[in-house]
């Protein structure tokens, strides 16, 4: 029989879905995705998670609730580290445990540990362990993984071209190429935050699309070149040991220093321990370089109207400032 493996559409889904999906498919399983985040999923997450957790972790719990009765396995790897000498968030380290201990009647969880902090060899181990849930044929596992990697690289390419991951998820296996170069006359706004906050349309209240529809070029951390990111984040006086932090700090600093953006909107979830540090660092840098900065803190009670007003006011302020500056330059 074909096993059904459930992947919750939350947290690292936005970064790794194509890889996981192709790999699991190649192994002969059927991948079932939870529904896109909606009110029900959010509510279920909130009531099946400790109050103190941050919004995306609650939402993730909601996705697990959505899937648990439909699948034979749940795919919730334990992400310790995805990069040498770095960590993700403490909450990712304990994610499978948080889920197991708060939601009842779960199918078996594939909670293999992914820890690349010391060496990449561990990845191989994780891949084999996952494969072994479904086959004992090692070469089949290796082949499945290699194929999956190819799809994944195409996905990363699309993102690098400026296509946001939500669209890239739909597109990575189409051979269609779309060149979405930035319009020179538009405002360039950088949106910072964790992928699962930015690209979850329900959590972020469609912020990216809303801005794009107002002739604004949206730049996200995923679209900045990795070398640039590493180079800029390594200038911090203290080594950035969070992978999210490196991406957010590196991409923000690089865009700020190149003066390629007109403003920054930081989307954060209430209670995010990592953001409390990152926001402060980015805001300081933006201030030093006179780049407008605003913070949107989201939780389960945030209303869309309020967010819209804040964003509009921010954009108006930037456009107004822009006019002002060009006045000065023509006269002076």
């Amino acid at each position: 029989m074909t096993y059904k493996v459930g992947i919750p559409q939350g947290l690292l889904f936005y970064d790794y879905y194509p890889l996981w999906k192709e790999f699991l498919n190649e192994l002969g399983t059927e991948v079932i995705l939870s529904k896109k985040t909606n009110k029900t999923i959010l509510d279920q997450g909130v009531s099946n998670c400790v109050d103190e957790a941050c919004l995306p972790v609650k939402v993730f719990h909601g996705h697990v609730c959505d899937l648990k009765d439909k699948v034979d396995y749940l795919f919730i790897p334990k992400f310790v580290s995805i990069y040498k000498k770095e960590f993700i968030c403490p909450k990712f380290l304990g994610l499978p445990e948080m889920v197991k201990n708060t939601i009842e009647d779960l199918p078996p969880i594939i909670d293999i540990e992914i820890n690349l902090r010391k060496s990449n060899l561990n990845l191989l181990k994780a891949v084999i362990k996952t494969g072994q849930y479904f086959t004992s044929n090692l070469s089949k596992i290796a082949m499945a993984y290699n194929k999956a990697l190819k799809h994944y690289e195409r996905y990363l390419d699309l993102i690098n071209q400026g296509i946001v991951p939500i669209e890239a998820v739909k597109m990575y296996n189409l051979s269609l190429k779309r060149n979405k170069s930035f319009n020179q006359n538009n405002l360039n706004i950088m949106i910072l935050g964790h992928s699962y906050n930015l690209y979850d349309e329900h959590i972020s209240m469609n912020l990216i699309k809303k801005l794009q529809s107002q002739d604004i070029n949206v730049l996200t951390p995923e679209m900045i070149d990795t070398d640039q990111i590493n180079q800029h984040s390594s200038r911090l006086p203290k080594r950035m040991f969070w992978s999210f932090g490196r991406k957010i700090i590196g991409s923000a600093f690089s865009a700020i220093e190149e003066k390629s953006i007109h403003g920054i909107i930081y989307v954060s979830s209430f209670g995010c321990g990592i953001d409390s540090i990152l926001i402060d660092l980015v805001e300081r840098k933006a201030r030093e370089n006179s780049i407008p900065f605003t913070l949107l803190t989201l939780d389960e009670h945030t209303g869309e109207a309020g967010v819209n007003t804040r964003v509009e006011a921010f954009i108006d302020m930037i456009r107004w400032r822009g006019k002002d500056e060009s006045n000065i330059s023509t006269h002076g």
Binding site: C49, V50, E52, A53, C54, K78, V80, K85, E86, F87, I88, C89, P90, K91, L93, G94, E97, M98, N101, T102, E113, L236, P237, K238, R239, F241, W242, F270, G271, C272, G273, I274, D275, S276, I277, I279, D280, R284, T297
Partner: protein
């Protein structure tokens, strides 16, 4: 050089002895108070965890007393504590203070750098002398920890439990005025004798409660609203899963020197949480299981709002509560925590523990007859 450091329970006593032993002048931050927290809250990012806010308050108050060098420890993840030093430097710079900040980070591949910083802080290159003073400071710290632990036992059984508070308050005041290892040891001894003279009710039945959670909040009485005193007055003997001396072992003696106690906690926690989660999340699970096995009556977890590792632990604790049939309560603290609500929750919890105790003993009486 006039050095200072942030408060964290008794650590200031060990650190003071260490620095004085090396012949340095120490400026102690005033005891943590509402004012300390107000200063800290005002100048720190709103959503940062509580310990950083109190630290900032400590620095400002010490600088106002003349300190020009701040000693702090650090880490390299996975928790926020690893960025405390960076943030704190920025904040003090914003405030316009011209102070030297020396950070003791784990070596992170550069052991000589750590040594260089230690020599700078100690104001001597004599490694032997430095080591000797560290050992002395450590010994004192352990003695103070034991003293406080002892006072918690006495408080629960004392006829007049507030007497114990007075003795301990006096100790904390006097300790600021004595200098070096000998004088401090003497004071500890005298205080112990005073505690011995407090009249206790040998037959009084007390409850035993273990405190687990985020290390700073457990160790710094101001951060946990003096939880051990509050519980002591309710006839509860308190044991804390983490002590300043265990913190020193954890941070300064990593790897093979790490304590066996810590390893035991990890082992106990393994069936529920197999890896580290930063901070002391894994220890919280392990300690809770150990308390349960040692027949404690209840467990209280304390954490600062938004503390990441402890939130992971918090979601696992209900399973421990069920598997081991032991009541566990979680208390969350931040700058808004009110005294009254806190006290009420503690009282309600202790009431519950007493009821359970009575029920159990009632059954025993019945089955025994």
């Amino acid at each position: 050089m006039k050095v200072t450091f942030p408060h964290m329970g008794n650590t200031f006593i060990g650190a003071k002895v260490l620095m004085e032993d090396l012949g340095n002048e120490v400026i102690l931050p005033p005891k943590c108070s509402k004012k300390t927290l107000e200063i800290g809250t005002k100048h720190s990012p709103e959503t940062i965890c509580l310990p950083l806010k109190i630290n900032i308050g400590n620095y400002v108050e010490s600088i106002e007393k003349g300190a020009d060098t701040i000693l702090i420890t650090g880490s390299c993840g996975p928790c926020r504590f690893g960025f405390y030093s960076l943030m704190e430097k920025e904040i003090l710079k914003d405030l316009g203070y011209d102070v030297d900040i020396i950070v003791f980070d784990p070596p992170d591949g550069r052991p000589m750098e750590l040594l260089r910083r230690i020599m700078k802080a100690a104001d001597t290159k004599n490694v032997y002398r430095i080591l000797r003073s560290i050992v002395r400071g450590g010994k004192i710290l352990e003695k103070v920890d034991n003293l406080i632990e002892y006072s918690n036992k006495i408080r629960a059984k004392a006829f007049n439990s507030f007497k114990v508070d007075t003795i301990i308050d006096n100790f904390y005041e006097e300790v600021r005025n004595v200098h070096g290892m000998e004088e401090t040891s003497k004071l500890i001894k005298e205080t112990r004798t005073k505690l011995d003279n407090v009249k206790i009710d040998q037959n009084k039945k007390t409850l035993k409660v273990g405190i687990v959670g985020e290390i700073y909040t457990i160790i710094e009485p101001f951060a946990n609203l003096y939880v051990e005193r509050k519980l002591g007055h309710l006839g509860v003997e308190v044991d804390k899963a983490l002590k300043p001396s265990s913190w020193v072992k954890h941070h300064l003696l990593p790897g093979p020197f790490g304590s066996g106690e810590e390893k035991r906690k990890w082992k106990e926690a393994a069936p529920y949480l197999s890896t580290l989660v930063g901070g002391h999340g894994r220890e919280t699970i392990g300690s809770s299981i150990i308390y349960a096995k040692e027949n404690y009556d209840g467990i209280i977890q304390i954490l600062p709002l938004t503390c990441m590792p402890e939130i992971v632990a918090e979601s696992i604790l209900p399973t421990i509560q069920k598997d081991y049939n032991i009541p566990i309560m979680t208390l969350i603290v931040d700058e808004m925590t009110g005294e009254a609500g806190y006290q009420t929750r503690l009282e309600a919890f202790v009431d519950l523990l007493w009821k359970r105790w009575e029920e159990d003993n009632h059954e025993e009486l019945l089955s025994g007859s």
